[in-house]
């Protein structure tokens, strides 16, 4: 029994030593500052992607991503629309799409960490019948661009390039 007591005490001591090593102090997230920004603008580039062998519409501008995967699955990109939406915090801005669906964009938050500012943007696409097609939340620097692709349209698909925080 003496051995048992000694070994148990040793095990408890080692466990006590090991516990703080496993439970490293997890730093609490620094609360982001809330800048006094009421609204930002978002540019939406609506493209029609097909495989008609016609290349990329020069009116689209500088979007080199269209030449790389996964966009290279289509060889023809035509500019259909280029609206600019004003995003107010907590309000949804909508825009009708060529397939009678609807794009919804919302400025959810603005995060300031160190010297960088991040826009938290919610985006969703509704089908023509009103059902939700896809929805997402992205975090972007000002001027950052993200793409949403997939809705079927006239033998191809719609590709939306959304650049947030444009001047």
């Amino acid at each position: 029994m003496k051995y048992l007591a000694a070994i148990s005490a040793l095990a408890l001591a080692l466990s006590a030593l090991g516990t703080p090593a496993l439970a490293q102090p997890v730093p609490r997230p620094v609360p982001a500052q809330q800048p006094d920004v009421k609204q930002v603008k978002a540019e939406v580039i609506v493209l029609h992607a097909t495989n008609e062998g016609k290349g990329i519409d020069p009116n689209i501008g500088d979007l080199p991503q269209l030449k790389k995967p996964p966009f290279s699955a289509y060889d023809t990109y035509k500019l259909l629309d280029r609206p600019t939406l004003t995003l107010a915090r907590g309000q949804v801005a909508s825009h009708k799409l060529p397939n009678d669906g609807k794009l919804n964009v919302e400025l959810k938050d603005i995060l300031v960490e160190k010297d960088s500012e991040k826009l938290v943007v919610g985006a969703s696409i509704d089908q023509p019948d009103g059902k939700r097609f896809v929805e997402m939340t992205v975090t972007s620097a000002r001027g950052g661009i993200f793409f949403v692709a997939g809705p079927a349209y006239k033998g191809g698909i719609l590709v939306l390039a959304i650049r947030v925080g444009v001047p």
Binding site: M1, L4, L14, L17, P70, G150
Partner: protein, 206 residues
Amino acid sequence: MRWLDGELDEGEAAPGQLEDATAARKLRDLELVGSVVRERAEGDPRADGIADAVMAALAAEQAERHEAKVIPLAERRADRAATGRPANDNARSIFALAALAAAAAAGLFFWGRGGAPGSDELASGDLSAPMDQIVAERAATPAPEAALFTEPAVAPQPEARPPAVEVAAVNFGARQGSVFYMGGSDAADGMTAVVWVTDDAAGGRP
């Protein structure tokens, strides 16, 4: 019935029902049935076989008991005394378990001290460093072709850059979809995100 089988005690009176015609008929029937059963039972060889088998089994069991080794109790106690351990001594087993627990605790201790890369950086309070490191590693490793549709893929980049756009959450609903990260127009741009939804009406994946 007992009268027929001869089981009546001496004091019991013989039944007077024999005078009754119905009782006399029942008695004759019983005698007839009894004689038939006796004939068939005596003619069946299995009856003797069962008895022989039971007796043989009993004899075998008895012989086995006689062959068992009998250990005198005094001798048994002497052996116990020579080993110095009581019959319920489990100290060695408990000792082994305790040693195993101590070894596990020591292993966890050293693993916790040196086996968790990045824990020091987390403790320093620099939140951006681990995420940047993860993004840099993912950007430097081209995603295999088969994994493009199972998890967000990162296109190979010449150098690691902080992402300009990150997808925090996406809901494809009942459809299938993928999230891609790819480079921007020039080195100054960060990575951009592509949310690609597979619309069956459009013909499938990219």
